[in-house]
Symmetry: C2
Subunit: 135 residues, 2 copies
DNA sequence: ATTTGTGCAAATCGTTTGCATCTGA
DNA sequence: TCAGATGCAAACGATTTGCACAAAT
């Protein structure tokens, strides 16, 4: 694992605590990732980094706020955090509860309506849901 | 208010209880609607239909299952149920927590990738998030 | 008569918060 | 030094569930 965590935090202007460095290392070492709070917590424990669930949530929220992560809502009881910040869309495998990037540039939105008067677009989410075909 | 509830239920093969009829009447009387469990409960009480929250949820879930409603996840603590079942997309006003349909046929997805081998697409959600522009 | 829905309250799940204690700058 | 991060457990809000009762077929 590379150790880019400290650097990431510095650039984002976040204080570099032991836990944050460890979590950032896990998140940003291996390219684009989709984690849930739960899976990140499990990974941290596995890597012998002792972190509480509260800190996982606080950290993920801070990272989103700081522009290091984006949040992706699947449904009311499932969400992911995505380390890829550039514009892209997702495909979700219902059976496996797995989220995958769609290659950037493939899927494309046409005729995006203008943001209504006095508003600005802060995000355009596309989620293609698939499941194992029954046929 | 028209009273199409009973008919809707019959078509969907759901038993027509008093509460379900009332909720279906509320939901399907006035064209396309976006409700939350909470707002629907409030509306029901206002219309002097006594329903428990549990029944609201049970009913909404049954309706989704039966193809009368679709669920739209905004984030981990906000979701709506949409009475419009035909293919269409949404714009979400963060400030007001309000969801609005995008006129069908306007926004269009290009180059939708094929569903991966052995899977079928069960939904394609597009959500444009806007907020009051700060400038 | 039998199956299915309902209400209530308690349980559950994911997430957030208060507070005392640590720790990085 | 001291603002800010952590851990813990308790609080929280949204949703689900168990069970006794009521209503629909």
């Amino acid at each position: 694992m590379t150790h880019c965590g400290r650097e990431k935090l510095r650039l984002a202007g976040l204080r570099a605590s032991r836990q944050r460095i460890a979590l950032a290392d896990i998140l940003f070492a291996e390219g684009d990732r989709h984690v849930s709070a739960e899976s990140l917590h499990a990974e941290a424990l596995e890597a012998d980094v002792s972190v509480s669930v509260a800190t996982i949530y606080n950290t993920l929220n801070k990272f989103v706020e700081a522009g290091l992560l984006r949040e992706i809502a699947i449904d009311s009881s499932k969400r992911f955090f995505d380390t890829k910040m550039s514009n892209h869309y997702h495909i979700y495998f219902e059976d496996e509860e797995r989220l995958v990037d769609i290659a950037p540039g493939v899927l494309e939105i046409r005729n995006m309506p203008d943001a209504p008067e006095g508003t600005e677009v802060i995000g355009a989410d596309i989620l293609i849901r698939v499941r194992t075909s029954s046929s």
